[in-house]
Symmetry: C2
DNA sequence: GTGAAAGCGCTAACAG
DNA sequence: CTGTTAGCGCTTTCAC
């Protein structure tokens, strides 16, 4: 038989509560119940379904709770009700030993920041809080496992959680994958998935360069081997080139030297240098797989006295705020990251709502090409019209 | 007597586990224990203190856990161990009905973003995850209460949580206040506190304008009534003015019209308009209480054909990324927001470490004045050297 | 090194 | 509308 507080009083002469008060311990339902002269069930009801309690009783309980400084234990609640009211997000650990405290690091994190923002906003709308953690080394006691064990639903950015761990987690709770390709692995093909139209976006942008600006020699920079997103972008680039009959440029563009390992501004600058000093003719356009690199290239080109877009066209991908701020403003493909976070939450909430479980959902969010000055579509102004 | 799983087996003919497996329910310690032929205590030990279990046993347990897809329940853990491994943050709800989806909203949130980033990073270092929630309407079932009941420690941005609620929370768990003034309220004076040197920063900046640039007519914009941070900045501004003997300018600057309710770009533009069209002589410098407004003013001034800094000097406060991107780059006071988040976590972790409880700590983080083009200290370049 | 058993604080039937 | 009671899944003494 469990010794409830009531039993304790009989058992140890009622000292329990005295001691509690003296050491200023954390008040529980039992304390509130006793102080307001009701049962713990009623205290619970006051919080869970206030309308099911008579107004006078409710007042009394609330008063006692307030006097005691009572805050319900989320753990006990979660354990008893089998739900936490918390959604989780696991994102890549961007902390780069080389860039501790550097601004570049800041920019790199914008991607996760936006997703966090979107998820937080949507979660709030549904009454959920958001638990976030960067993925670190795995293992039984990893932060990821910690988080996974405390949430009702879990969003995971691509390649941040090992397949096996993810499989276990998804057995417990709904999981949605963010970015990356739809999991091919059969053990994960039941997961919902949200991605952006990487290939189509890069295709549209490239087509714009080839078709509208008449460019023929394009170089693509940023084919990181293990990033499916970048792979998809490259496919889009290639498709547009092939359609326009500019294959040669394509082949030249995937020289190993241009597989940037980090996709940082520094790497973008390096790529621009290589492209300018290369043996063959300089490409007419540098097509970067992200904005970071493109911005780095912009700087390198300025250093070399080359004008953008007159001497060479530069484009990025992502549509980070910075892309609009640099001069010339960067032509790029805008990804709706905030919306991605929101969609992820909506998907999770839907699964949690207990409606008839449906087939795994895979959303592909549309992107939009922002035609700005760096491809020659917009005048270069001195002061950006922000807002 | 509690019916443990063992008892259940006797009780219902061992169906419990069968059913569990069939409905693919969430595996628990009991399942892992049974499958690996040990007691639940041992399963627990494998996770909590692996070294206290014989290697062979450990392997067996881990294997079973993996086959079952076992993930420990954070709730049960937290309840039993009285700690969650999670820190919380409550920040203001910036969502403005007027700016849904607008870019301005984005910029406004940068402040919280940075703090989130700092806290996440520091929390991770200490093995904690971060639970975040914007403050909404209070009440017993508010998100804030939800969060407070699930964390080991709680950081709260100024004026996001009602005093009474905060008092209750701080009785349970360590709380650190971010920004704002040190709580004057005696019920909250035991809280740790982290702020930045608002007054000194604005003083330095103003002194720079008066002393180094010889400006005499300064207008201050942004005295929101209930923001202690802005109040402090204004005090710094006034002190510098008084010291330099330019009181008149000060008085004029606090006209009610210039008490901006929102501190947005739009408001900054409006303030610039008022200042330009005002009856008296136009001030030589517009000193804004944040970067947002200053950027708005920059745009309004360009619209009116006024050159910055030649015709009028403009300064901001915060040092958001945008301040460096606009042309002319904004002279401003940089606040170390990321560091603020990190300090908050360090403070919480220290309190949680169980060391001899010390006096409440109040940190005032130093700021630095970024002298850029908008006050005439730096050349206006076309392409910002980002990085 | 391992097991048995007592809760952690709350929710959710189920009675009344 | 309110009280009783049996757990939720795990950690943690205390024995062996």
């Amino acid at each position: 038989m469990r010794f409830h507080r009531h039993a304790c009083i009989t058992r140890d002469g009622g000292l329990t509560h005295e001691r509690r008060r003296i050491v200023n311990a954390i008040p529980t339902v039992y304390d509130v119940a006793e102080r307001s002269g009701v049962s713990i069930a009623t205290v619970s009801r006051v919080y869970r379904s206030p309308d099911s309690v008579r107004a006078a009783t409710r007042e009394r309980v609330l008063a006692a709770a307030s006097e005691l400084g009572y805050v319900p234990s989320g753990n006990a609640r979660g354990l008893a009700s089998r739900s936490t009211g918390v959604l989780g997000l696991c994102f890549p650990d961007y902390s780069d030993p080389d860039t501790v405290g550097a601004e570049d690091d800041d920019a790199a994190m914008l991607y996760s920041d936006q997703i966090i923002r979107g998820m937080e906003r949507a979660a709030r709308r549904h009454g959920y809080a958001l638990l976030i953690a960067a993925s670190l080394a795995g293992g039984p006691e990893s932060l990821v496992a910690q988080v996974a064990g405390r949430v009702d639903g879990f969003a995971v950015m691509a390649r941040t959680v090992p397949t096996e761990e993810l499989e276990a987690i998804s057995r417990r709770r709904p999981v949605v994958m963010l970015a990356g390709p739809r999991a091919q692995d059969p053990s994960l093909d039941h997961l919902d998935h949200v991605e952006v139209a990487n290939e189509d976006g890069q295709y549209e942008l490239t087509r714009h360069l080839v078709h509208d600006h008449g460019l023929r020699r394009l170089a693509y920079v940023g084919l990181v081997d293990d990033s499916p997103d970048v792979e998809a972008r490259f496919r889009g680039f290639r498709r547009a080139c092939v359609e326009a009959g500019v294959e040669a440029g394509v082949e030249a563009s995937v020289a190993p030297a241009l597989r940037m390992p980090m996709m940082t501004q520094a790497e973008g600058a390096r790529a621009a240098r290589l492209l300018c000093e290369g043996s063959g003719e300089r490409p007419e356009a540098f097509v970067f797989a992200n904005d970071q690199m493109a911005v780095g290239a912009l700087q390198e080109l300025e250093r070399r006295g080359l004008r953008v877009p007159d001497d060479v066209v530069v484009t990025g991908f992502d549509g980070i705020p910075l892309s609009r701020m640099v001069r010339p403003a960067l032509t790029t493909v805008r990804q709706p990251m905030v919306r991605m976070g929101e969609e992820a939450v909506d998907l999770l909430v839907q699964r949690l709502s207990g409606r008839p479980p449906q087939e795994p959902v895979s959303l592909m969010l549309p992107v939009s090409v922002a035609r700005r000055a760096s491809c020659g579509c917009e005048e270069t102004t001195v002061l950006p019209t922000v807002v």
